[in-house]
Symmetry: C2
Subunit: 165 residues, 2 copies
DNA sequence: CCCATATATCTTGATGTCAAGAGACTTCAT
DNA sequence: ATGAAGTCTCTTGACATCAAGATATATGGG
């Protein structure tokens, strides 16, 4: 079946027949698929009244394991946002009762952000919903194809994930 | 080589051994790779003093073929932004002399946005730079692997691209 | 002990985006 | 013709984000 990238590539080949636009076949599909996934996830999370950014913060804490707490600094390295954004996010999550701020007992400059029991439940529910949706999106592929895709994608992401930047 | 998603999946398997998180192996990699690509593209475009959104608009017009003009409405279906955003983008591109607004001769409500000669040059230069960068990112893969990846990704994107939404 | 430097978090101001709606014009049924 | 509904673009107001800097605390060399 044809997709938007086929049309995009065809347009470039018509307008710029001198250029080799083959890289777009892979990387434009990655970007466009990510956009579609963002929208789909937003819908899935909305069923649990969570925004994507809320899911990111709550699940970062959830994955940390009991007692489900991290410093704002650790959270911002995990979620790749700036400190101003993280302050704002913690404020709103605390107001909704999903996390709470605790003084760091070992550093008086510091704060610890801890998942409340309700925050933990919401994170767990939303994760289950997300996985159900993702299984549906991947439904067309065989196990063999999923493994192949994961492996090829890992080859592309590993260089980014294993440098300081 | 290990990547961030391997670590993410390992954390979930430790904290939620009851869940099958295998879908993340594919779809989290897609999202994370897209984030990396966004950053890389921003850098590539910066060498031509273009923002990613400027590239999107200019190349949409470029792909339309001579005389390189589209209505704001056509531009926003291509770039998936709202009309308010598009008005703002056209304003700024016109101010920089990369596009110009013309009255639509067939509909007095309408406007046509046309690429200026400078806008066309900038779009062409930035596209060449982008393709060079993308070839470097894909450098690790064989032709066979790229084709395989493109084909698998097309299977995932086609359902999104061939429905009204 | 003291000061310079580093670290952790929060605050401020600017920006780009979106959602909703306004204004101008067109289209179509009557 | 005429009025209602549709279409196209732009305006407005709210919001999340970022970059830069402020505040408070910690750390280590002299």
């Amino acid at each position: 079946m044809e997709d938007e990238v086929d049309r995009l590539v065809a347009a470039w080949r018509r307008e710029r027949p001198d250029l080799d636009v083959e890289p777009l076949e892979v990387l434009s599909r990655v970007s466009r698929l990510a956009r579609h996934l963002d929208r789909a996830r937003r819908l899935a999370f909305a069923e649990h009244s969570l925004e994507p950014w809320e899911f990111d913060v709550l699940t970062s804490l959830r994955r940390a394991g009991a007692p489900y707490q991290l410093s704002p600094g650790q959270l911002l390295t995990q979620t790749l946002v700036t400190s101003g954004t993280m302050t704002n996010r913690i404020d709103r999550l605390a107001q909704k009762g999903l996390v709470e701020r605790l003084p760091d007992p070992t550093d008086r400059r510091g704060v610890l952000v801890r998942l409340t029991p309700e925050g933990q439940d919401r994170a767990d529910e939303a994760l289950a919903g997300l996985l159900a949706q993702e299984r549906a999106i991947l439904g067309e592929l065989t196990d063999r194809q999923r493994a192949e895709l994961a492996s090829l994608l890992r080859q592309l992401t590993a260089p980014f994930d294993n440098v300081p930047g």
